[in-house]
């Protein structure tokens, strides 16, 4: 390793100037699969909504393929932005995006990982991004997922979206930065 990576710094309060041109609330535009809307709230250590955060999403397609050269056999027809989303929180700390449920992607131990979304979170007050995952409710593959198994049982629920009323294809997933329901974040 001849060079060290450049240190991260916060996005600060005014990142929308640089980020808004690429807001993408439809992560899987034009791609086949089970459509699902995921919404939630971002809360700080006082339980107060965070109105100035942004989430970025990265995911595989319905067959569990990342549209990226590292995933062999990804020479399929692809829309330019497929799998990437960027959504800010609103003045109530709420966010929402629409996508498809991805298929299972391979894990390093040869077993498939349970379907999941990769999430990066940026905001004023965060000196570097937080990295987490969203899993899907009632998916039997969650029980054998390699990453979920590294998380203490008592905290796993923070990574699994919940069925939300009124419609079947709407899921709720909240992000708590601190407190008893603090979301699990990863270091990879």
């Amino acid at each position: 390793m001849p060079a060290h990576s450049t240190p991260s710094q916060t996005v600060g309060p005014f990142f929308s100037i640089g980020f808004d041109w690429m807001i993408r609330r439809d992560v899987a535009e034009g791609s086949p699969g089970e459509r699902v809307t995921i919404h939630g709230r971002m809360l700080d250590g006082n339980g107060q909504p965070i109105p100035d955060a942004v989430l970025e999403i990265w995911q595989a397609d319905a067959e569990g393929r990342y549209h990226h050269p590292e995933h062999a056999d990804s020479q399929r027809e692809t829309t330019p932005f497929f799998g990437f989303g960027r959504v800010p929180t609103d003045e109530h700390g709420q966010f929402s995006f629409t996508t498809i449920k991805p298929g299972p992607v391979p894990g390093p131990d040869g077993k498939p990982q349970a379907p999941h979304l990769q999430i990066s979170i940026f905001m004023r007050g965060l000196l570097r991004q937080l990295v987490t995952r969203v899993y899907f409710p009632d998916d039997p593959r969650n029980d054998s997922d390699m990453v979920l198994q590294l998380v203490p049982q008592s905290r796993r629920a923070t990574l699994i979206a919940r069925q939300s009323t009124p419609t079947e294809n709407t899921l709720e997933w909240n992000v708590c930065l601190q407190g008893t329901d603090e979301t699990v974040f990863f270091d990879c």
Partner: protein, 234 residues
């Protein structure tokens, strides 16, 4: 399937901790639990690759987005994006945003009593070239006050956002200017505890990048995470 090559771990102090109490906003926003280490999977080593046509070829020049030219000292900011193994990061998206020359952002929440510039938005973007190089034209941003502590001022800076080849290489940072007396007092800059790492956030005056009769040059090279030679154990 074999274990995938993991990313280099950052040396202690070379990346900020989430909690840095002198930066007051971090106190209620930094998680209390340490992040859980996980092995890299395809989910981390892949990431979005954007088509070049999403960025206007003129979006690198922040001084030509309006009918007239912005006020302030025109500068050229250029550099090279590589990974920790020295390989160029080709064709990757770089987004920047900044205050105008008076130290005011074009944002509804910026209440600093300094003038907006009708000829300056403060956003730019481009893709790095074949060799990982980039070049923006802009104006030198002003310092501005903030509420973190008594008489707090942010040093002059430009925000940078880079994607790199993978989800795990995503980086958002800030570029500072050489000799800025405010750096010593800035809790965001000082959140990087290692002094040599901190210095890597400061651009250098760039004689070769300086354009005669046009603009001073500043050079800011950026290093994204690279994958170590040793495969990670699952």
């Amino acid at each position: 399937m074999k274990s995938l090559q993991g990313y280099w771990k950052s040396a202690p102090g070379t990346q900020p901790n989430h909690l840095h109490p002198p930066y007051v906003s971090s106190i209620k926003r930094a998680p209390k639990y340490p992040p859980i280490p996980i092995p890299v999977t395809l989910s981390e080593i892949t990431g979005p690759s954007f088509p070049k046509n999403i960025v206007s070829p003129n979006a690198f020049d922040l001084t030509r987005q309006h009918t007239a030219k912005p006020l302030g000292e025109r500068i050229v900011v250029s550099g090279r994006v590589t990974d920790e193994d020295g390989r160029p990061i080709r064709h990757t998206l770089v987004e920047i945003w900044q205050a105008n020359a008076a130290g005011r952002y074009l944002h509804k929440n910026d209440q600093h009593d300094a003038p907006l510039d009708p000829n300056f938005t403060g956003e730019g973007r481009l893709f790095t070239d074949e060799d990982g190089r980039y070049r923006f034209i802009t104006v030198r941003p002003g310092a501005y006050p903030w509420k973190n502590h008594y008489n707090a001022w942010r040093p002059q800076h430009i925000h940078f956002s880079l994607f790199g080849p993978a989800f795990a290489t995503r980086l958002v940072t800030q570029m500072y200017f050489p000799g800025d007396p405010l750096l010593e007092f800035d809790p965001i800059f000082q959140s990087v505890l290692d002094e040599s790492a901190r210095r890597r956030l400061i651009s250098s005056f760039d004689w070769l990048g300086t354009e005669p009769d046009l603009a001073l040059g500043f050079r800011f090279d950026i290093v994204l995470r690279g994958r170590s030679a040793m495969p990670m154990e699952p």
